[in-house]
């Protein structure tokens, strides 16, 4: 370790389902250098101070979406958040808000995975093309229209930023809606009518009150709030126009 090594206090919200009734805070003194992320700080705790600490991580470079945590109350990827920015104050680390805590910093993401499945996150073509017919072609402009919404890494920071999801876990939520929107506006896709059922439902977009914090915390600038709110307009149009059009998207 280098000479400019300092000591920072990391406060971790601990929870052991086998022994604890509820989570409690534990403070660790962690030596750090300027290049160390909060994730590396937490890894130091596990390696040298308390091997029982549980957390998720993988790539260390803000692309796998595994290491999301509440850092000083803000949903953040711990791999791209640096200890030096908090020193000399204490840095508080907690599992992602609004999700059930499985153990320590590990959350239960089953609900989120189910939501991802429910939006049918794949292209539903109008007509299947055979291999001989070749690929589904798309212009650069058609790609540009949805590209931003395809950058989601499923890190769930937006859910930890969404009070409406915290208040009602049934709400389909920001990331799933962004991905749904990404497929609905893809020129190769024809599954919009099926997906609109979800958008229009009680679990759908109207749970959102345009807080907008989801888009603030998104590490990939997906702007899920935009996807959700554009679909309020789509859903309202669907709601009122179904009386005018013979088929519509209505059920």
């Amino acid at each position: 370790m280098s000479e400019n090594q300092r000591i920072i206090e990391i406060e971790v919200l601990r929870y052991n389902p086998e022994t604890d009734k509820e989570p409690s805070r534990q403070v660790f003194e962690v030596p750090f250098t300027d290049d160390m992320s909060v994730l590396q700080g937490v890894q130091y705790i596990k390696d040298y101070l308390d091997g029982s600490l549980s957390f998720r991580w993988s790539c260390r470079m803000a692309i796998c979406g595994s290491c999301g945590m509440m850092i000083n109350g803000e949903p953040s990827l711990s791999c791209e958040t640096f200890l030096r920015d908090y020193y000399p104050a204490r840095v508080r680390v907690e599992a992602l808000a609004h999700f059930p805590i499985e153990k320590d910093l590990v959350i239960n993401m089953e609900g989120f995975i189910e939501k991802l499945e429910s939006i049918q996150p794949y292209i539903i073509p109008k007509e299947e093309r055979t291999l001989a017919q070749g690929e589904y072609l798309q212009t650069p402009a058609q790609l540009a229209s949805y590209e931003q919404f395809s950058s989601c890494i499923n890190c769930m920071l937006c859910y930890a930023a969404c009070p409406q999801f915290g208040l009602n876990a049934e709400f389909i939520g920001p990331a799933a809606m962004a991905l749904l929107h990404r497929y609905n506006i893809d020129s190769r896709d024809a599954g919009k009518a099926e997906r609109m059922e979800l958008v229009n439902s009680e679990e759908g977009v109207f749970n959102c009150t345009a807080v907008g914090y989801c888009s603030e915390v998104c590490p990939k600038h997906v702007d899920p709030a935009n996807a959700v709110n554009q679909n309020k307009t789509n859903s309202a149009a669907d709601y009122f126009l179904r009386f005018l059009t013979p088929k519509g998207g209505a059920k």
Partner: protein, 132 residues
């Protein structure tokens, strides 16, 4: 036996924990003033329907210092509502493409505020013109 026992944290007081949420609650709170103002106008309308004497009672009532103070407060709340309404607007609409480029958020917010300013001046001019 299953040793899993996921802990769900309570939501109480969530909006106090982050400045972003505090601001959200404040701009949601402007609705209280919008409601109060609508009710004041509705009262005025009912008094108007009851004839000149009744109307003048309502009109005189507006000069009460409490009403004046309340209207200053309502004006501030309304202005804040206007600002936050257009600040959120870029998040609520499809992207606007101008010359092949996506219009930045501040341009959309700025346009909204400019339209509001123009509409307000037009309104003031209209009222001034009609009263003269």
């Amino acid at each position: 036996m299953n040793k899993r026992r996921p802990y769900v944290r309570p939501m109480a007081g969530w909006w106090r924990k982050n400045p972003f949420f505090v601001e959200y609650m404040i701009h949601e709170g402007t609705a209280l003033f919008v409601a109060a103002y609508a009710l004041i106008l509705l009262t005025g309308l009912v008094y108007l329907s009851r004839g000149e004497a009744a109307w003048n009672v309502w009109l005189e009532g507006l000069k009460n210092p409490w009403y004046i103070a309340f209207h200053w407060l309502t004006l501030a709340a309304m202005c804040y509502h206007t600002y936050t309404w257009f600040k959120i607007m870029p998040r609520t609409m499809p992207p606007v493409i101008v010359g092949g480029k996506r219009l930045p958020d501040f341009a959309i917010t700025g346009s909204g505020l400019a339209v509001a300013a123009t509409a307000s001046l037009a309104m003031l001019g209209l009222v001034w013109g009609m009263a003269r």
